[in-house]
Symmetry: C2
Subunit: 133 residues, 2 copies
DNA sequence: TGATTGTACTATATTGTATAGTACAATCAG
DNA sequence: CTGATTGTACTATACAATATAGTACAATCA
């Protein structure tokens, strides 16, 4: 079906859910208005506690990626974000810097870095067959 | 002088030290053979416990970025890494994917993404005036 | 009404992070 | 050799983040 979490990973499970949902939206596998799995159902599917899933969903709502409606369910937001974009772009820029520093430490040339960058761009642009959600 | 840590940040202080040292090496402000601050001195400078700094240094040594010599001090490694590069490149690729998904969620166009990417590359290439170390 | 769904608690356990203090070992300058 | 410096290695402690478990409540809808 869809999302997988890695229990052994160092990144928290609720964070993995957040990342996975965002990725599926980015891939177009989840579209605005789509209804998502209920917290309890996703929890049992992933062998997690429903509170953990709820935490992920609530963070996604805080970021305006999804909308939580009690009694009805969870839906992908129609205008996923827009807000807060300046702050988040600054964070993005910092993340990119850190990424490049690590790449430099791997002695990657600018050409190597560029080609890896483009490869991932292409993978995301056409690869609907993701392995996450 | 050099490195700063943000106590309120969610990223661990020892991790901030690791990132900062790597960045300074990437910038060329720290060169192979350079002697680094002793753990106790850096600890008091940053108002941290010496064990926290030692942990950061030991992780940097594990990654072969620096060399720790008891009684003498800490030195930037002459051949900083090379090892383990395949695994680390895979991690890098994953990080890049996550980054691009986030960028997509900020509704950044490929052109915007590219220009941010290049801006950071240039900043790292010529910007000796970093604010970290 | 009854099932489903999100929400909100409390309690508990585990892990990562960081501090504090102490002690030891290797190195080097004097 | 002495003494200071430096990295290393413990123990103990505290705190926060993460996750589980269980329960209960509120809104929605068939």
């Amino acid at each position: 079906m869809w999302l997988r979490v890695d229990t052994r990973s160092h990144t928290p499970m609720y964070q993995q859910i957040i990342d996975g949902v965002k990725e599926q939206i980015a891939r177009g596998n989840l579209k605005p208005g789509d209804r998502m799995m209920p917290v309890r159902e996703l929890a049992t599917t992933l062998s997690l506690n429903h509170n953990t899933v709820a935490k992920a969903y609530q963070e996604l709502e805080r970021e305006q990626v999804i909308e939580l409606i009690r009694g009805r369910g969870t839906f992908v937001s129609s205008q996923s974000e827009v807000i807060d974009s300046e702050n988040r772009k600054r964070e993005l820029r910092d993340a990119m810097k850190k990424w490049l520093v690590d790449a430099h430490h791997l002695q990657m040339s600018e050409e190597e870095i560029m080609s890896m960058f483009h490869a991932v761009v292409v993978e995301l642009r056409e690869g609907k067959g993701g392995d996450m959600l």
